[in-house]
Structures are given as structure tokens and as C-alpha cells.
Amino acid sequence: MTERPPFKSAGLLKKLMSRYYAKGKAAREKGIPIAWVTAVFPVEVLYAAGIFPYYPENFGTLAAARKVAAKLSANAEARGYYFDLCGYARCGLGDAYAADHPAGVIGRPDLLFCCNTQCGSLPKWFETAGRFYNAPFFLLDSPMIETTPTTLGKEYFIDQLKEMIDFLEIRTGQPFDSDRLAEVMALSGEACRLWNEILDMAALRPAPLGFFDACFHMAPILTWRGTKEAVAYYKNLKEELELRLVRKIYAVPNERYKIYWDHSPVWPRLRWFADYFAAKGALVAASQYTHSWAWSFDTTRPLESLAENYTEAFVNRGFEKRVQMKIAFMKKYGMDGFVFFSNRSCKNNSFGLYDKRKAISSKTGLPGVVIEGDMSDLRFFAEEQVKARLDVLFEQLGQRGK
């Protein structure tokens, strides 16, 4: 990859993430409950209850990016966990059992909160971890929205948010602060707005950032969402990107193609993919994955608004809606082709991709390929096969005379 000047925000990100871990440590010392939380979970409610949120999935990505997933996983596999379970879960469970911690020590929860819109692996992981750490587990259950959102599903979620607030009041011994919830939701919404404005800059031709950059810069929208820090970070990043546009610093040199990616990256091979696409003059411009946080809250009716935003997200939608949403992304960003990542660690985002590829190609005329692999475990990654698939995509793009 031709070297671009590094993002100044990268330094900020590093500091911000150190602060995040320091805050977690301080919380532990002060006796503030630490809760495991899933990535797409209404964490706003937890902040309002004065709980410190910890994201084990972030631990999973970290372990994967540091290429130690197989090593950590071995500890879980030695205890009978099947090698085919979600890679993040194997890293998390593996680290809990491990003597050495190549990705840092996974945080110990006092409580565990999971929303199952993302998948069925997370609740099983959290449930298992709840037994390991002897900590209570709370599941926010959201049945899939097959076509259009239903009142039934929404009311079920709202009922559960109320149950969760009761649960938190009992656990913290404090009355729930609704004003604080509105405040946190406003901050969360503001960070989401900025984050999505940033992601949308990938639609520019040429663009100052793409999906692989977004994978790097998404850590605060995950871990700091709902705080002033996240807002400040994305304001700063947006300004930096605007400046880069003025200075004509682009994500890939000589951008010729824009490629849509679905869903998560192959963390331990992020660089390999970035280099491959850059060499082809292709920008992997967007993936639904990094758009997971696109909330637009109405703080005058907080619980309804949380329910709508969190249950209606793409991860919780049926086949046809997901196809429509992907096509909308491709149009919005002016994509020339797409890559679907059939990820062994993520059945929920992988099953259906074969048919979706065909459906989308026939509806849009865009070429697309499915690659096989795993987001964290390189045992399931065959570089030659993946490269051959990607080459086919670029042959097709070449034939289209672009």
C-alpha cells in the first residue's frame, strides 16, 4: 500500500482507548459495577444507571487483530469448546482460562447484558461466561423482523427495557435517572450522526477514507458511545478528513473502483486485504458492519426510541430487507462491485449470502463474489482461494471497461 500520512486522530484514539481501560480499572476500585455489553446493545440505559460498560467483542477483535485468536482459542478448545464456535467467544472463554494473556486480560463482569439482534452466539457466550464468573446475565431478546416492524416486537422490547431498568435499580440500589438517560441518548445520537457523516465521505470520488479505516476508527463508537468523548473524537476525525480532502490525501491512490464489503473484516488479515484492494485501485468503501451504529433518537420518548433504533437495525432484519438495504448502500456509495465474506464465526451474517449475492447481482448488474474465511481464526483462511475469488471480481470489473 502506498503510504498515506498517518491519521492524527490515531494518536487520539490510542489515548482514548487507554483512558477507557483506565476508567474501567478505576470503576473496579470504586466498586462501580462493570457490565459486559454486546456491541449493538442500548448501552445508553447502562450509562444512565451509572454502570461501566465493557465490550468483550472488542477484546475479540483485539485478539484477532494481534493474530493470537488460535492461541487463546486453544485454551477453550482444551476444555471441550468446539473449534467452530464464534471466534470472539473462543478468545474470550480461552482468555478466562489462560495463564498468559497475549491480548491483555479480558475484563471480569459483575453483570452481563446481551441483546440478541446481532446473533445467537453472543447470548450463548454471555450465558456461559455468566456461569464462569458467577455473575447475573440479562438478555434483551429481540425476535427477527421478517418484513416490517411490528407493534408486538416493539412492545416486547420496551417491556424488557422496563424489566432491565428494574433489574438495574435492584442491582445498584439507586433509582433510575431518566434525565440522565435523555442526556446520554443525545450524546449517543450525536456521535452516531458524526460517525455516519464520516462514513458517508467514502462515497466521494476519490474518497478520504474507506472501510478498513472505519474498522480502525470504530472503537470509540463502540466503547464510548453515549459520552462526550465519543462526540469530541468524531468531530476531530471529521475535521481531519475534511482537511485531507482539501489536501487531496485519499484512502487509495488512483481510486478506480468502489467495492461494497459485507460484513466484518478478516481482522488478522486487514492489512493484506487493504494492500490487495489498493493495488487494484479499489476502495472498499463501506460495509453494513461499521454502519451498525446509526441511531437517531427521540429523547422525548426514550424507551420507544431505543426500541425502534435497536430492533430495526439491519442485523435484525429478514432476507429481503437485508438485500434491499445492501442494494441501497451500493447505490448510495456508487459501488462498482461487492465482496461478501462468508464468516465461519458469524452464522447470522453469513447464512444466506450465497443467494443474496445472486439476487443482488441480478437486480443491480453489479459483479460480486463470496469469500470464505473467519474473522479471527486463520485456520479457516486459505489465502490462495480468497485471492482467486477476488481476482475473478476484478476480471469482471475489468471486462466492464471501468
Partner: protein, 392 residues
């Protein structure tokens, strides 16, 4: 086997039905001119289908070879889902008027979309069960979800599901569960007459045959079995329990019969999960169906504080008097694979020997399974090694 003619004839009839369930149900359709609504494992409320005037048809696995499914569903999806989809793709289920897929895991959650896209049927619905059952919200949601399903079925069959109709269906299904449970007790006490394969065939055939016919057949069987002398009939048998989703490949039951292991308890979807717990026959029938679902025995697809699965399993083994527990796990079943290590250690710490058999629908090496089961039985019979650390 010292069984009288009638018993043998009935068991044979059941066996034959299971050899070709699709052929059987298609004959039912043409003879009775009835709509057929298929369902996949597990927990689909058949009473609603029945009350809508359709014949429910349980698809408990299908094709043993995968020629078309692999183009639509990754080969690392469980073979149960793949084999069912394969049947659909091959057009073998085109006679269905409807299909209901329960969302119990990520595979079933995505299967409906794929299936509908590749090979649509007139009615294709998901059964969106709540994945938490400990809080009051689950039951009110589920009542609504059952109401939704009811409306869809009514549209499909153009028959209103009245309270009376649903109560009648519930009573019919309760009778069926009661009859099967009675026969299961007979099996436990008298495995010579009603062996593992026979009794589990009875459960599985209940998912295929019209309940009215099945009830008649079971009453006939019960009468033919007559009274038995309890003493002596279980001599030489070792009691075991099973845990998992399905008893496939079905030869497993014959192997257990062959080595004189009598299955006395299980938590299988094609076992006690199907026959345990009746539906209340008074009051609001939809609420009664919801209640049965919420209070069902635990399984891998969601956790429950109220019915803690590890405690449930160890209690199940102890109360049934089983000497050991065999996990029959479908390869790539993620929920089961998450549960396995803790289930195993819960058994170990309570002194229950276990073995895990990994299975797949279709081409499996049966010899390997048999060898492992034999070895496990030897451990159980050995007694001295039977201290719970003998897990294979």
C-alpha cells in the same frame, strides 16, 4: 423378540411410515383432501395447525445426500438444517401448503429466508419464540406471537380457529402425549418388548401421522402389549439417558438395543421435549399454549434461570436411575457446543459418566459410533471405574 403378533404388526407399520414419511403424508393429502403444513424442529405449536383444519407434518431431517443445498447454505451449517433444505430444493416438499420454521438458533433464523427465496411455498412463516423465559414479558409477547401465527394459519386454510376447535385440538394432542408417556414407561420397565428403537419410533411417527390415527394405533398397541410381569424383564440391561437434539442417525437406537442399554430419559427434540408437559385444557387456549412453551424443559437454544439446564440434566439422570449420559450432538450445532463443556463438568461433579457422540445426518461412519457406545457401556458395566471421571 417375544412380542405377540399385533405388537409386531403395529411396530412394523410405524417403522414403515418412518421409512418414507413424505410418501405417507402425500397419500394422506390426496386421500383426505386436506392441507398439509410442515414444520421444522422444534417447539412449533401443532395444535394451532390442527385447529386450522390442516395436517401438521414434522420434517425431522431428510435427504442423506446434499446435491443442491450446498449452493445455498454453507456446509458448516448443521446437517439437520441442510438436509431439510435439500428436501425442499429437490422439490420433494412442493406438496406442502405451508411451512413453519421456529427460530431457535442462527441457522433456523436464516433458513426461512433462503428457502423462501429459492423455493417458495404458499405459506412460509417463522415461529418467533422468545429466547428468554424467566421474565413476564416473554409470556405476553409469546401470546401475541401465537395470535399472529393463528391468523396466518386461518388465512392459509380459510378456517377460523375458534376456542372450541383449539380446545379440541389441545385435548387430542394431550391424549397423544399421555399415551406416548405411558408407552415410554412400559419401555423402561420392559425393554424386551418395547425396545429403544420402537419407543423412539413411536415419538417420531407422532410428528408425521394424524394424531387421531396415531392415538388409535397407540391404544391398540397398549392393548396388545397387555399386562406384563415387571420382575426380570430388565435383567442384563443398563439404564442410560440421552441429551441432544435428535437421535440421528437412527441406527444409534438399534446399537443401544444391541448392547442392552435401555434409554430411560432424554431431552431430545425428537424425544421427551416433544412429549413432556401437556397444555391446560381450560381457559384461554392461546395462553395455555404459551404457558407450555415457557415452562418447557431446558434446551441449548436459550438459557433459563428457572430451568437451569445443567441441574435439569443431572436431576434427570438421577431421577431416572440412569447409569450414564450419552450426548448425541449434531456437528456444527453451535448452541449445543456452547453448552457441552459445562454440562459435562456438571455431570462429572455429580458422578455421572458421560460420552459425547458427534453425529451428522447422512453419510456417517456407523462403526465408529458403535465402537464408542460399546466402550462406554463397558465402563458403565465395569462399575468400579464408574466414579464420574470415566467420561470418554
Amino acid at each position: 423378540m417375544p412380542v405377540n403378533g399385533d405388537v409386531g404388526r403395529i411396530l412394523q407399520l410405524i417403522e414403515k411410515t418412518l421409512e418414507d414419511p413424505i410418501g405417507y403424508i402425500r397419500r394422506q393429502k390426496s386421500e383426505r383432501r386436506v392441507k398439509i403444513v410442515g414444520w421444522l424442529l422444534t417447539d412449533v405449536p401443532e395444535e394451532l395447525i390442527h385447529a386450522a383444519g390442516a395436517l401438521p407434518f414434522g420434517i425431522t431431517g431428510g435427504s442423506e445426500s446434499f446435491s443442491q443445498a450446498d449452493a445455498h447454505l454453507q456446509s458448516w451449517a448443521c446437517s439437520l438444517a441442510r438436509s431439510c433444505l435439500e428436501l425442499g430444493l429437490q422439490g420433494k416438499l412442493s406438496f406442502l401448503d405451508g411451512l413453519i420454521i421456529p427460530h431457535t438458533c442462527d441457522t433456523t433464523r436464516n433458513l426461512g429466508g433462503i428457502w423462501k427465496h429459492a423455493r417458495p411455498l404458499p405459506l412460509m412463516e417463522s415461529y418467533l419464540i422468545p429466547r428468554q423465559v424467566d421474565r413476564p414479558s416473554a409470556k405476553s409477547y409469546l401470546t401475541g406471537e401465537l395470535g399472529r401465527l393463528k391468523a396466518k394459519l386461518e388465512q392459509c386454510t380459510r378456517t377460523g380457529i375458534t376456542v372450541k376447535r383449539l380446545h379440541d385440538s389441545i385435548a387430542l394432542y394431550n391424549r397423544n402425549r399421555t399415551l406416548i408417556r405411558k408407552l415410554f414407561r412400559r419401555h423402561v420397565d420392559d425393554p424386551e418388548t418395547l425396545n429403544n428403537r420402537a419407543v423412539y419410533n413411536i415419538i417420531k411417527s407422532s410428528m408425521i401421522m394424524p394424531k387421531e390415527d396415531h392415538n388409535n394405533l397407540l391404544r391398540e398397541l397398549d392393548a396388545a402389549l397387555g399386562i406384563y410381569k415387571k420382575a426380570g424383564t430388565t435383567k442384563g440391561y443398563i439404564k442410560i439417558a440421552l441429551s441432544g437434539k435428535v437421535w440421528e442417525p437412527r441406527e444409534i437406537m438399534n446399537m443401544l438395543d444391541g448392547i442392552k442399554a435401555v434409554v430411560v430419559a432424554d431431552d431430545l427434540a425428537t424425544g421427551h421435549r416433544y412429549i413432556n408437559g401437556d397444555v391446560r385444557e381450560s381457559g384461554d387456549p392461546i395462553e395455555a399454549l404459551a404457558h407450555r412453551q415457557i415452562t418447557r424443559m431446558p434446551f441449548a437454544c436459550y438459557g433459563s434461570a428457572q430451568f437451569e439446564r445443567r441441574r435439569f440434566l443431572t436431576d434427570m439422570v438421577r431421577e431416572s436411575g440412569a447409569a450414564g449420559l450419552v450426548f448425541i450432538h449434531l456437528k456444527f450445532c453451535e448452541p449445543e457446543n456452547f453448552d457441552y463443556p459445562d454440562m459435562k463438568s456438571a455431570c462429572q461433579s455429580t458422578g455421572i459418566p458421560t460420552i459425547k457422540i458427534e453425529t451428522e445426518m447422512g453419510n456417517m461412519s456407523l462403526g465408529q459410533i458403535e465402537t464408542r457406545l460399546q466402550a462406554f457401556l463397558e465402563v458403565l458395566r465395569g462399575g468400579a471405574d464408574n466414579d464420574g471421571t470415566a467420561s470418554l
